[in-house]
Symmetry: C2
Subunit: 203 residues, 2 copies
Amino acid sequence: MKIITISREFGSGGRELGKRLADELGFAYYDKEITSQIAKEVEMDEEYVEHMLSKGIPHRFGITYASSFGYPTYTQFDTTKLLVAQQKILKQVARDGNCVIVGQCASVLLKDLNPLNIFVYASMESKIKRCIMRANNKDELDEKTVKKMIKDIDKSRVKQHDLHSDTKWGDKTGYHLCINTTDVEIKNIVPSVAQYAKEWFNK
Amino acid sequence: MKIITISREFGSGGRELGKRLADELGFAYYDKEITSQIAKEVEMDEEYVEHMLSKGIPHRFGITYASSFGYPTYTQFDTTKLLVAQQKILKQVARDGNCVIVGQCASVLLKDLNPLNIFVYASMESKIKRCIMRANNKDELDEKTVKKMIKDIDKSRVKQHDLHSDTKWGDKTGYHLCINTTDVEIKNIVPSVAQYAKEWFNK
């Protein structure tokens, strides 16, 4: 089974790259669908699951810690249950056939299945530009707000990653290919990245 | 003019990738030739030039500092002269036509010419394996010696890079594409990297 995982900085166009890559290769594409499946698996509300996974609260932090820092009072049981379900669902979709998975710490959680791990990043300036360009409410967005949003979301991704791995999120040693999308039109680089993936799987 | 710079960890196969990439694209290839040209330019011995550039002694360190740490007593004048010559020669070859340049801090020194900057890296285990495989004296090499050599050479590259740049050597933000060659046969990934370069220059 050929699995490509995409980890990405917010605003770098990583999701677009993942989607287009899946189309180009004829692979299945998974992104938010995984969260829905996890929610079903654990019989919890999808939004709650997404919030918990994205906040990445380490399960060694109990109720007291969480409350004192203003987090909702997740139980240790909920968090553990979710992480187990996340891994289970990821392995299920990976078994279903060749796929591209965006996010979900898939590079770490599916390590045993030898995925091709891609990290997508860009300069802050370029990420801000991309975020504003694709927003529906362009007029209400200013650069400062967008920059804060990018930083906050990536901080959540670091936390989520830290739950599962000793390597640092975004450290190139944890990935097979790191792509800087600053000033790059995503659709223009898809053919070569798809070609790289084919060559890599035949390595 | 299309310029590709290759920075690489020792033993990662970066030079091989650079050479094959130049062949695939029909670009000129520069590596040690640059050092020869610098030596001619400054009328110094080639080996001396290579040693000085690779050791990367910051020119703010005068003769006293160099002596007290056991370095040959480079003069501040020599170092400055060399760095000026390095930049001059790099710009000359870049002006001559499309090219791939391996090493020489070209990613930093040719920044104004908008090169495609590639960083090539691999796990220590893979680098040791590659070094031993390509050595003529395989039988005399043990892993410990090779590991020390890799670390020493990369330390020199960090020093050389630090002469020119505030960004860290190997930090992905300084490059457009970072390629992990662990368990990868270099020649197998050349077509897609060449394709990426074409798409990137048309970005």
